[in-house]
């Protein structure tokens, strides 16, 4: 914690220093194939996105992205090494080559995309920041939070959004910033703060699983920010950048064409040219990426299409029970849109 926590940067800082990283331009794919393992940076535990279960198995939407890539590249979704990273460590770990891909509910912003030597690949979840308040306060809008103390966990874009939004509203608030999720939650539910803020995807979970009485708390309707979350790769390896991007697009495209984990084999016999291209039964789309022709089929076989990933990890089949909302396909009124695979 504190200084110690910052000191945990040291191994990566030293790697950066001594140039130990295996990652040189264009070499990421070769390195992964050589070691027969994808090294994937995940969170230290965000339910629905990346968290380890009691047996130490990782699961979640962000984890599935890594599994899909491992399936496409190594033909085995289990050949992934997960490196849990906190918010402060994540970029350094990717920059220094400690991980091949950062798939850790990370918001795509200009500063991060343009100044950290990184590339955001694609959006896997559109989130937004919201508020949780006790019902007792009788608040119906975040605009009523004048002079409120708001509990927040550090190390995210959350603090900045909070300050921006209330500044724009001309309202003064006091953030109470905690380093650890557990401490921030404990402080809020003990009544230290009048509101808790984080991404809406997490608020639903916090209300249903962490609150002593879920019915005593309510999520306010406002979303005060755009939080497009997605995997990040290092700059300087365009081939790897393309692979990660297109595996995600393939998962979205699979949902659009109705290709699921269950019907994959039948779909391989489909006469629809778009499905044939996606699954490699006609053209070899893999060649252009430096992968095998069934790269996308392998990814879908490992984790299902995007809709299945969503449902299993954060949607109706998960404890989070989040609605599809803006994360529905573009053809169903959402924002999920993949460039065509052709």
């Amino acid at each position: 914690m504190g200084i110690l926590n910052l000191m945990r940067h040291f191994p990566v800082a030293i790697a950066l220093l001594l140039h130990l990283s295996p990652a040189l331009a264009g070499k990421t794919l070769d390195t992964i194939r050589q070691r027969a393992q994808l090294v994937c940076g995940v969170s230290t535990g965000v339910i629905g996105f990346s968290s380890a279960d009691s047996q130490g198995r990782w699961n979640g939407l962000d984890v599935d992205v890594c599994r899909a890539i491992a399936a496409a590249v190594l033909n085995d979704p289990n050949k992934v090494k997960y490196v849990p990273l906190n918010a402060q460590q994540r970029f350094t770990a990717l920059q220094s080559g400690e991980v091949d891909i950062l798939s850790r509910n990370t918001t795509w912003t200009l500063t991060r995309d343009a100044s950290l030597g990184l590339h955001f690949t694609a959006v896997t979840y559109y989130d937004g920041q919201g508020f949780l308040v006790p019902k007792k306060l009788k608040i119906t809008s975040a605009k009523q939070l004048k002079n409120a103390e708001i509990c927040v966990q550090s190390g995210t874009t959350t603090e900045k959004n909070l300050s921006d939004w209330f500044k724009a509203q001309g309202i003064k608030i006091k953030p109470v910033v905690f380093e650890k999720f557990e401490a921030s939650i404990k402080a809020f539910f003990s009544g230290r703060c009048q509101a808790y803020t984080t991404d809406a995807s997490a608020l639903a979970f916090i209300r249903s699983k962490e609150a002593p009485q879920p019915d005593d708390y309510v999520v306010l309707p406002e979303l005060i920010s755009k939080e497009p979350l997605g995997p990040v790769v290092r700059r300087g390896d365009d081939e790897w950048f393309a692979i990660v991007k297109w595996v995600i697009f393939a998962l979205i495209e699979a949902e659009e064409y109705g290709v699921t984990q269950a019907n994959l084999e039948q779909m391989k016999a489909s006469t629809d040219p778009a499905i044939q291209r996606l699954l490699g039964s006609a053209e070899d789309s893999g060649k252009l990426l430096g992968l095998e022709r069934d790269w996308a089929a392998r990814a879908v076989k490992a984790v299902g299409n995007y809709g299945e990933m969503h449902q299993r990890n954060v949607g109706s089949a998960s404890p989070l029970k989040l609605p599809r909302g803006v994360n529905a396909l573009w053809s169903k009124g959402g924002l999920m849109y993949a460039p065509p695979i052709r």
Binding site: L17, L18, L116, A148, S163, R192
Partner: protein
């Protein structure tokens, strides 16, 4: 010679890091310090607004670190001295209690103590909307101890009043600050107590015997004979305790107090400048420690002169 080698190594490390970062397209440099911070700080001795520069945010964080460290140094020194003397008392009960204090506080990790204090404090206090009024314009609640404070928009004092969100206005000693102050003071006091006890016990027994034989009272014995000699051996380790206390204040991040490390953590996240932020924190703590060491050296020389005079 050694210093030169060290400097050269440091220079080489910096050079390699900078070159590697440039090669990877990572922006570096300290220019971000002058950009607007963009985040708010919950409580700050130094007036701070999110439009102010990152440098000012870090300065506010440093001010918050000092705001808790300096009072904690005073409290822990006074309390520690009393407990240290208590351990030398001829009263068995007092001696036992002081020993129990030292052993308990010293052997439980500070982080756990801080969390315990913090959650005890926040659990026990009433909700902000049901704040307890202790005196006119003084309220105690989970939001802390709200007090009138000079300044404010109207009149001489900014007065805390009940509002829709609990207490508005005035100055507040937050539960985070109080828990950190309490935790740091009590924990460090245990070490100070041991330092004081050892310092006094290091004065040869013959000195006390001689003083008592001369007909000095116990107070005279302590003030004129024991203390001046003990101080020489107490001050250096005491300085170490003060240094540790200042560094331990960085555990503030665990309980939501915006100290230097907490603000730097946030900055690191907003800007992604890990190397720069860590270098800054290290530099600030190094300067703080050197200053403390220098101050203690000065005190030591002074106490040496005092001892000779006495």
């Amino acid at each position: 010679m050694l210093a030169a080698a060290l400097l050269a190594t440091l220079w080489w490390l910096l050079d390699v890091t900078a070159a590697n970062m440039a090669e990877r397209g990572i922006r570096s440099g300290f220019g971000f310090l002058l950009e607007p911070a963009g985040f708010a700080i919950g409580e700050s001795l130094l007036p701070f607004d999110s439009a102010d520069s990152t440098l000012r945010a870090l300065a506010a964080g440093l001010a918050n670190t000092l705001r808790v460290a300096l009072p904690a140094i005073v409290i822990s020194s006074v309390l520690g001295t009393l407990i240290g003397l208590g351990r030398l008392s001829s009263n068995l009960l007092l001696r036992g209690r002081c020993a129990a204090y030292v052993e308990t506080l010293r052997n439980v990790p500070l982080l756990l103590q801080l969390l315990a204090w913090y959650f005890v404090v926040t659990d026990l206090l009433p909700l902000a909307s049901e704040a307890q009024q202790l005196a006119p314009y003084v309220f105690l609640s989970k939001s802390g101890l709200a007090l009138p404070w000079p300044g404010g928009d109207s009149g001489l004092f900014d007065l805390p009043l009940r509002g829709a969100m609990g207490i508005a206005g005035g100055a507040a000693l937050t539960p985070e600050f109080l828990a950190l102050l309490l935790g740091l003071s009590l924990y460090t006091a245990a070490y100070v107590a041991e330092t004081v006890r050892a310092g006094i016990q290091a004065v040869p027994r013959g000195q006390s015997d001689a003083a008592l034989a001369l007909g000095m009272t116990r107070i005279q014995l302590f003030r004129l004979v024991l203390l001046p000699q003990a101080l020489r051996s107490i001050i250096p380790p005491l300085t170490n305790q003060h240094l540790s206390l200042t560094k331990n204040a960085s555990l503030a991040v665990a309980i939501g107090y915006p100290d230097l490390v907490s603000v730097a953590n946030t900055t690191l996240n907003q800007t992604g400048r890990a190397a720069e932020c860590i270098a800054l924190i290290m530099a600030v703590y190094l300067i703080l420690s050197l200053l403390t060491a220098w101050l203690s050296g000065w005190l030591e020389r002074r106490s040496g002169r005092w001892a000779e005079r006495a």
